[in-house]
Amino acid sequence: MRHLATALAALYAGLLYLFIFLPVVVLVLFSFQDGTLPVPPLNGLTLRWYEAVFSDGKLMAALGNSLAVAVVSSAIACLLGFLAAYAFARYTLPASALLRGLIVAPMTVSTLIIGLGLLSVLNLTGLRLSLVTVGIGHVVINLPLCFAIIYASMGGHQVNIERAARDLGARDWQVMLLVTAPMLLPSILAAFFLSVTFSWDEFIVAFLLSRFDVTLPVEIWSMLRSGLDPRTNAIGSVVFLISVAFLIVMELAVFRKTGKSS
């Protein structure tokens, strides 16, 4: 009876892992397809689709754009989030709860609505759509997250250290930069890396708010119009690899440092 239960559990887990991994395995496997259709039968293995992808100027430009937008917009979101968290945690502001609610509000609204709203206002101002407008949208999406993470980690126990620094003659910006920020580094880094992954993968805002220069998800999207194509498999596998590598770095850099409590 016990053996039967264990066998059933193993079978179930095996089937679900198969379901979870099936598309990724197929994606990567057929990125090596020696033929123009990334579906069975597998004709043989080749690296030519990777070659095609890496020599594709538009795709590589989109990859660079995605990285730039992700890093810059996440840095801005973290900076604004940190400053606001500092203000709300260390000073008493009027209508504090309401203002904090305003900062986290975009988190509760679908990105389609955020993108549409920004698009209609940008149309009004006549500002051109570009990577900058995409970045603005991504800051809107990520700021609530950064603020919430950093605000939550600003406890009372750091106040005494900050006070000590001030007593020793540190100015406000010195306290913030040399004392508070280093103490909060793990949560700032966590916020930053999370923002980068969200921005890197974000589609709808990037799609609505860009025109000529686009991010990688949007470029891949336009590749899909030509149907099944091993080049899409190749770039998809590259993206997956980058994400996993990034995940490992994040795990080592952030979570190991804060202790293996999780």
Partner: protein
Amino acid sequence: MTATALERAERRKAWVFALPALLWTGFFFLVPFAYMAAISFWTRQGREIVATWTLDNYIAFFKKAHLFKGLVVSLEITAAVTVISVLFAYPLAWIIAERVPKKWQRFALVMAILPFWTSYVVRSYSWLLVLSKGGVVNQALLALGIIAEPLELSANRTGTIIGFVHFFVMLLTLTIYANLIQLSPNYRRAAADLGANAFQTFWHVVLPLTLPGIMVGAFLTFVLCIGDYITPQILGGNNELVLPQVIMLQLGRRADFPMAAALSLVLMVVVTLAYIACARWLKMERT
């Protein structure tokens, strides 16, 4: 300096720190949102938005079948996806939490959500490789002689649901696992002491205790699923459009911003109602 002057200086400093974030959210979120809410009550002439107040867009939503059907299809698909995902994810989370040795649990969990980190667009595309007529599943079943004709697994509702379930099984496995390991083993020991067998312990003790966590995960699934455009667009075909697809359609060919805005607000109202229902249920559960 007097105390009040000092206080005023401190407060000014606080505003300087808080203002950038507040202004950013105000300019790039609140203003656009308010403007969008306003134009949902306006009309258009050709490609121009005309600021005359009217309820026409909302009336059209309820009257025109192709618009209203978008919401119905969205709700049907989202409901199916939420239920199926919870039913699939719970046993997996339970097996990882209960049957996998402690030191392997983290690894098992990371593996269970690894494809979560493929790009969103790519993930739907790779399901196309699996489900399309010439795809892996159909080819395998044909080769094994189980079916004579390829199954219609993509370009319809089945494709959309499979693509969604894949994503949300991973998400829910994570949240339900987090819930399960928080349960103190004392509950189970007490149940066992009182003579409950494994099934009774699960049904009367473990499941009720994890229900609030399941509800939160299900709500998250509902919100993310009903607002998504990519998965149905890639896997769903053209016969049945979900609400986000209908919204994007208003923008594309017709450039009908007021209609798109109205439909977006409808979507938001639906999500808000789901939130209220979920919050109320959780409150009831606690008392």
